[in-house]
Symmetry: C2
DNA sequence: TGCCAGACGTTATAGCGTAACACAACGGCC
DNA sequence: GGCCGTTGTGTTACGCTATAACGTCTGGCA
């Protein structure tokens, strides 16, 4: 088992991300935790660094924000994870993308490229906003 | 045909990106064009905005940098483009990812998500650096 | 000629992320 | 318990990334 004990700061940042319904920027997290004694961005970034390493949190490169992992229990090992980000409501859905992962792995094998980290992010409209936006 | 006439600033920024062997940040572009009269970030960002809209330039979200398109003639219409970024030498390869595109399109169709823009970026080691790094 | 959309120049400001330093807390080990 | 390396913390300061807001200028077209 991988029962990791988080420190106070790490736990606070993680809780903030889990409580949020949308991704949060590091500075938004900072503001939400000022009541808990947070004063500087580094406190947030250091906690995020650990949470990212543990796989409990993901970074959304295209919007410079962070989300709690939707399914932190099972490692998303070699089946890459992807994100669908709604440009209207900000909602994010995390999903596995095995077909995409396979295609990219094939290309990498042919090109001799050794991937260390893969980013797949879709920006667009979620079903609800797509219906509402008519 | 889509022979677009670029303005002076747009042309200078595009030339700077084409001349570079690696992606450039907006501020690096600014520094390289100071001799041409560039003084403020906005001059670069405005030119980039247009070049991105024209599809002549791509933005690499994971490293906040920009590259000239490798094959600007044929639109990469519905076959998504992906990037392999070497963490050691900074080299970037742009490639089409039809299998990944299909997989993501399938998921989006099932989830009711309408993608507007898709980001696929692999960070890792290129063949040369992988061999050298032993 | 008059108009207008788009590009341009400038200043200022907002947002994202890290360097550097010193100190405290934890845990293994003897 | 006392030692010591590792990890986390708090704070200040700084650098990089991106946009807001304003006014001006140009080029194309009725
Ligand atoms: Zn996850
Ligand atoms: Zn939505
Ligand atoms: Zn391209
Ligand atoms: Zn390389």
């Amino acid at each position: 088992m991988s029962e990791v004990k988080l420190t106070r700061n790490q736990g606070l940042v993680f809780d903030a991300l889990q409580a949020a319904e949308a991704p949060l920027s590091a500075y938004t997290i900072l503001d939400r935790l000022r009541g808990e004694g947070f004063r500087a961005p580094l406190q947030v970034y250091r906690a995020l660094e650990k949470l990212l390493a543990l796989g409990l949190v993901h970074r959304l490169e295209s919007i410079n924000a962070f989300v709690a992992c939707s399914h932190p229990h099972h490692d998303h090992g070699e089946s890459l994870v992807a994100f669908a980000i709604c440009q209207t409501c900000g909602d994010v859905r995390e999903f596995a993308a095995p077909a995409a992962a396979a295609g990219l792995r094939d290309w990498a094998a042919g090109a001799g490229f050794k991937p260390a980290k893969t980013t797949i992010e879709l920006s667009g409209l979620c079903r609800a906003c797509s219906a509402a936006g008519a």
